[in-house]
């Protein structure tokens, strides 16, 4: 709390009571007095924040408290707090369930594949865009590649299904030209991950590239100029000027990507899922939905969700720690 013109650091009687009795230092305002003064002077700001804060308590923190039903046998009549404790029974049941390893494997492979595929491609696109002069072509490429980001998941999945359809889609027409018989991509579990990841790349590359483009435009032009005078080729300038320049951005995006590996979204996997490909498309999030809302096993679904959240939190903190050690860049400085 730095003092502004109105909060004058006047010696307050509360300061000595609070125990700050180092004789040499000038008496400082205690945090309690500061808080009181700020509250009196800016009560309107505190009033303003009441409703939004209540939102976070009700919709974010009460659910965290409600997650206690993971350790209980939830009964709707008794409520989350009145239900009977069962300890780790739900977790044990889940770990022993034969579906457990399949879920963990599917979730893990799907996200690792997504991160690996969608990390380098936007960087390449951004650098390529950065190489050409500002003009209509550059603007068109940017506008068109950015557009799919604004399309809803439902529509992207529908488009994917239509385009890959064995009877009508043009992908099968195209491979038919090479004499390949038509393939039912969505009916074969082995294609699920490729479909998921590459439709994701199609949708998000333009958007992610924009972030790197901003980082590239922040690089001092003098660096490029002096590299040119020293005779560096375009490729060498990309290697020695552009790439180091976007490193901090890339690290943050990678940390977020790896940290969220187990929290891969429910929406798309659920929409792309069909009875033929569940073997690879059933991930933790879709399983939680089915257990919780379709089978109404609230305690079990909460336990699985909690297991996932905890792993996620540790993954994110761990990756952030490692990234900070190696590159000096992390989410929090």
């Amino acid at each position: 709390m730095s003092a502004t013109f109105e909060v004058k650091p006047a010696p307050a009687p509360a300061a000595s009571r609070a125990g700050e009795t180092t004789a040499r230092k000038p008496p400082r305002t205690s945090r309690r007095t500061q808080a009181g003064r700020s509250l009196r002077r800016h009560w309107q700001l505190y009033l303003l924040i009441v409703v939004p804060l209540a939102y976070f308590v009700i919709f974010k923190y009460i659910p965290i408290a409600n997650a206690v039903i993971a350790f209980k046998d939830y009964s709707p009549v008794k409520g989350p707090w009145g239900s009977d404790w069962v300890g780790f029974k739900n977790f044990e049941l889940f770990f022993q369930n034969p579906v457990f390893w399949t879920l963990v494997k599917n979730t893990f492979l799907l996200s690792v594949y997504t991160v690996l595929a969608s990390f380098p491609i936007p960087i390449i696109l951004a650098i390529a865009l950065n190489e050409i002069r500002n003009g209509r072509f550059k603007k068109t490429v940017q506008l068109v590649t950015y557009a799919p980001y604004f399309i809803s998941t439902v529509v992207v999945v529908s488009m994917t299904i239509l385009v890959l359809s064995p009877r009508l889609g043009f992908v099968n027409d195209a491979i038919g030209l090479f004499g390949v018989p038509s393939v039912d991509f969505l009916g074969n579990p082995n294609y699920f991950r490729h479909i998921y990841v590459w439709s994701d790349v199609w949708q998000t590359t333009g958007y992610s590239a924009v972030i790197y483009l901003a980082a590239l435009s922040g690089i001092d032009p003098a660096l490029h100029e002096s590299a040119r005078i020293d005779g560096a080729s375009r490729l060498q300038r990309i290697r020695h000027v552009d790439l180091p320049g976007i490193m901090p951005t890339a690290v943050i995006i990678l940390v977020l990507g790896v940290g969220n590996i187990m929290s891969i979204g429910f929406e798309k996997a659920f929409l792309l899922q069909n009875p033929l490909n569940t073997q690879q498309s059933e991930i933790i999030a879709t399983y939680v939905y089915k257990t919780g809302l379709l089978n109404a096993d609230f305690s079990m679904a909460t336990a699985i969700g909690l297991f996932n959240s905890v792993i996620n939190l540790f993954l994110l903190l761990g990756v952030n720690f490692v990234a900070k050690r190696i590159t000096g860049n992390g989410l929090w400085s």
Binding site: I49, P52, F59, P63, I151, S152, V157, L168, G218, L271
Partner: protein, 317 residues
Amino acid sequence: MSITLQGFRRTADKRPDTSKRTAIEETRTDKIFLAGVKIMLWLALIIVAVPLIYIVANSFSSPSAVSAGRVLFWPIEPSIRAYKEAFSDPLIMKGYLNSFIYAIGGTLISVTLTIAIAYPLSRRTFFGRNVIMSVLIFTMLFSGGLIPTYLVVQDLGMLNTRWAMVIPSAIGVWQVIIARTFFRSTIPDELYEAATIDGASDLRFLWSIVLPLSKPVIAVIALMYAIFQWNSYFDALIYLKDPGLYPLQIVLRNVLILNTLTGSTTTTNLAQQLEQQQLANVLKYALIVISSLPVLIIYPFVARHFTKGVMVGAVKG
């Protein structure tokens, strides 16, 4: 990441065009390299555009041509049958209307609440702002999960009401960070001091000075919320049971992915059945176009502001 903040004030990419200014000639390898770069960009353009063109071309073709798989990138036997059919379907139109209600109502609520928390958090004299910020950021890292949140919505009696669509996802922490960063970097303390000397209260200052100065950032977060709300289907999937409340995305999912035909009359006539089947096929393409249109129409105008908003949010703080 602090460099990216400058992007907010920069209207255009002002990077000097080095290839024109300097006298150094492009070497041959550089020219070849540049040609390769252009080919790559053309490829990217084609890969993204082709599926979009394919969908639009199909949506304007005749049902029989679509069902025979004859349409590629230009409409065959042009017709707007599918669009007529879509606009006369009561479920689809109801979904469209509902989506508009959720998008507009949700955005109003979200923007109001976001500003109400972002502005105090941007003020240096607000005691405890760092603690509150941590409380907010923690919710990005850890959540109670699907069922515990569902229980809260259930206890509040919001299940199967319109409120379930706009309240549980009202405030995005990301948007709070964007707004707070903007307030902090564009509203100087001196302005506040001058206003207080003139006798303005905190609320008056926010209303008469901060909000008019913050139109760009308010537009950005409003658009983010509106597009998010328009595209979302998960909340509707778990909280809504009554088809009369369904937003467009749920209707789309039913028609496009689950293949449930809407408004079709069952008939025993084989020729009619075939025709209906064909119409259902082309209807899918038309629905994709119709549902994405509102977003894609405004997108070119907002793309740049959107980008800037993302950049501001990326600033650590």
